[in-house]
Amino acid sequence: MTDDGRTEKQVLEELGDEERALLKRVLEIERAKLHLSAYDATDDLLAAVKEIIP
């Protein structure tokens, strides 16, 4: 929670379905590759965007 009382849950609830799906996918991708410092997620993230808006 921040000073203005916002919570992570509120941020998620205010997102549309597509936005929420992409956000979850982005964090999954980044978390799975946290151990690889040389990994650049750009292409995987781009693919995730194209899956959501084909």
Partner: protein, 685 residues
């Protein structure tokens, strides 16, 4: 991460292959190992960090002598010997076997630093097993190197965790533990994704969309440059602050300057307080003027209004106190209050009707009553305002005088150091002044870059809105725009999530730190973790929070409390509902391995720390000597111990060196004479 066992092979004092079981559960999370001085407690602790990260702490001497001395001596020149540490642990539903191993070739009697290889095997819950191809990176993702200092540490040196300057690093280190790292990485990668998408938009989007996109790109480029610059400036600021603080430390330690510098420190603290008190009083005055200031101009208003109203009455311009409703009732009833019948169109009827025109409405009368009712209290409110303002002005003037006085004193103290007869003192003070000037310049530049970044952010948002409504006829371009909008929204949400998580992390660490610290110490001192991630200690003196210097003992307790807080938070955070979805049941679990857990703490603290330790982490390995660990410590910890052991010292020292350790009424070998110096891990239970 939960430790299962450790196996040492020819690892320093531990010759041959020696294993210690570390499996534990929630009821008995503690493994307790006793060892005499030099037995190898520090080596045992360092075996974990060497296995995980390939490094030992700086206090381990002669780090190139990894192979047990007796084994090395017995090894013929030209042959090789193995040194290794194997660690078994589980993490987030998977079992791991980690082996750091080196084959050391003997070319002379002197050992050279080995180059170990790391291997890692993973077994999933379904029984499938595989070799991990990026072993070190995987270990870093489980337990980042910087973080290991919170979980594998020497109790006597733990206070280093809370030393000045350590916290910027600490803040960075715990990001992985507290689930911030992946958000930061996503925020670094999403702009790259967006650039690829907007390139398509520019290619197919038509003149208007292309023009807007080019403007956005230009703004983003400036944003990136400014962000880089801000990072550099903040780095410079931190370095300059550290340098300035180091100079101040020298001035504090210097015999000649100590009293002056100590006074200057006190004056600086008072000055900060005085400035804060002045700002508060000024803000109160501002509020008072904004909400009640108009009253000051109402002195003649009441009298004027009253006089004006009466004059209007007299002139008949204001309705008389007679109510129109009353006249209407008389006309309707057909009788005056004096008894005269009021027959329609008769003279009395016409007379009364005439009064109707002069009569006032009830509503107008009520409004007038209310207004005249408020004229009186205006005078009282004005007196109140005058008194409140006067008391505030007294406060403001007093604080102004205090600030002026402290600035004068500060200047006087500065002058004493600047004009000191000693050249070294003069040089230190000029350096301090120079560094303070540089710090001021950096702070100004940071401020201007931040406001520039704010402006750029607003401009980008505006342009993105324009882009959303710009006409795009090409289907590919429309899709690229929709995708870019999606990426932008997600990036914005992630930025907010990061800010929420960072603030949440600090607040919760602060609260937990206070709880653990309170449970250990008997002093009325309260720790706080501020927004800059600095750890300070305060005491309450008549409602005023005063910063207190931290003693070594307190620093140790603070560090332990901080470790406990980090450990607890890491577990809690993974259990909560988060953007990533469900976490594995054992996520965020880390063991704590501590050598000399009680450092140089006195008996009372040892007992309190032991009690806190058992609740501190889901798994705990404690290494202690007889003098540190027997008595209250054993009494407190024993109910939680699942594995008890002794690192038995075998020594070639002459004389009657043999010693035993008595635990729960049973004597166990502690030190034994031997033909070679080495240590053995012995399991008691």
């Amino acid at each position: 991460m939960r430790l299962q066992s450790i196996t040492l092979t020819n690892f320093r004092q531990f010759e041959g292959v020696q294993t210690f079981d570390l499996t534990s559960d929630a009821i008995r999370p503690v493994s307790l190992l006793f060892g005499a001085n030099g037995a190898g407690k520090t080596t045992f602790l360092n075996a974990f960090t060497w296995a995980l990260h390939g490094a030992m702490s700086e206090d381990v001497e002669q780090q190139e002598r990894m192979v047990s001395d007796s084994v090395w001596r017995a090894l013929p020149i030209g042959q090789s010997v193995e040194v290794a540490v194997e660690l078994r642990f589980d993490h987030e539903g998977r079992d791991y076997r980690l082996l750091r191993q080196a084959s050391v070739h003997k070319q002379s009697d002197h050992q050279t630093r080995p180059s170990p290889e790391l291997q890692l095997w993973m077994t999933a819950a379904d029984g499938s097993s595989e070799v991990v191809r990026a072993p070190q990176e995987t270990v870093y993702s489980i337990l980042p190197r910087g973080v290991s200092r919170f979980f594998f540490f020497n109790g006597e040196r733990i206070e280093n965790l809370v030393k000045r300057g350590a916290y910027a690093e600490v803040q960075q280190d715990i990001k992985v533990l507290l689930d911030l790292e992946q958000v930061e990485r996503a925020l670094a990668h999403l702009p790259k994704v967006d650039r690829k998408l907007t390139a398509e938009l520019k290619k197919h989007g038509g003149d208007k969309a292309t023009e807007i996109q080019e403007a956005i790109d230009a703004l983003r480029e400036r944003e990136t440059t400014d962000r880089d610059q801000l990072k550099l400036l903040e780095g410079d600021l931190a370095a300059l602050t550290e340098e300035r603080d180091a100079v101040l430390d020298v001035l504090r330690q210097h015999n000649e300057t100590r009293p002056i510098q100590e006074r200057r420190d006190a004056v600086a603290r008072d000055l900060e307080d005085a400035k804060a008190a002045l700002a508060t009083a000024q803000a109160e005055r501002q509020h008072l003027i904004a909400t009640r200031g108009f009253l000051a101009f109402t002195e003649s208003l009441g009298d004027t209004t009253q006089a004006m109203a009466e004059s209007l009455y007299e002139k008949g311009k204001l309705p008389s106190p007679l109510k129109r409703e009353f006249v209407d009732k008389l006309l309707k009833n057909g009788a005056c209050i004096c008894g005269t019948p009021l027959t329609e169109h008769s003279e009395p009827w016409l007379h009364v009707k005439d009064w109707r025109q002069k009569a006032g409405l009830q509503a107008v009368e009520t409004a007038w009553q209310q207004l005249s009712g408020q004229i009186g209290p205006l005078a009282t409110a004005r007196v109140d305002l005058r008194e409140s303002l006067s008391s505030l002005m007294t406060r403001i003037n007093a604080q102004r005088d205090r600030v002026d006085r402290l600035i004068e004193e500060q200047s006087e103290l500065d002058g004493k150091l600047r004009d000191s007869r000693r050249e070294d003192v003069q040089a230190l003070e000029s350096k301090r002044i120079d560094l303070d000037t540089q710090l001021g310049i950096k702070q100004q530049r940071i401020g201007s870059v931040r406001s520039e970044l704010d402006r750029l952010g607003r401009d980008i948002e505006q342009k993105t809105k324009e882009r959303r409504t710009a006409e795009v006829t090409d289907e590919l371009a429309a899709k690229a725009r929709a995708r870019s909008d999606l990426v932008q929204s997600v990036k914005k949400a992630l930025e907010e999530i990061l800010a929420i998580r960072e603030e949440d992390m600090r607040r919760r660490l602060d609260a937990e730190l206070k709880t653990v610290f309170r449970s250990i110490t008997h002093q009325n001192h309260v720790p706080s973790l501020n927004r800059g991630f600095e750890l300070t200690l305060h005491k309450d003196v008549d409602g005023v929070q005063l910063q207190v210097p931290k003693s070594t003992g307190e620093n140790q307790i603070l560090s332990l409390s901080f470790v406990a807080a980090v450990s607890k938070l890491a577990r809690e955070i993974r259990k909560e509902r988060r953007a990533e979805g469900e976490a594995p049941p054992d996520a965020g679990i880390y063991p704590i391995v501590m050598d000399a857990a009680f450092g140089s703490l006195d008996q009372d603290y040892q007992q309190a720390v032991s009690r806190a330790l058992a609740q501190m982490a889901p798994q705990l390995v404690v290494l202690v000597s007889k003098s540190q660990g027997l008595g209250r410590v054993v009494t407190e910890l024993m109910p939680y111990v699942s594995h008890l052991g002794v690192i038995e010292t075998h020594t070639t020292a002459a004389g009657d060196v043999a010693d035993d350790i008595e635990i729960e009424g049973v004597a166990h070998p502690y030190i034994r004479p031997a033909s070679t110096d080495h240590s053995e891990l012995k399991v008691i239970k």
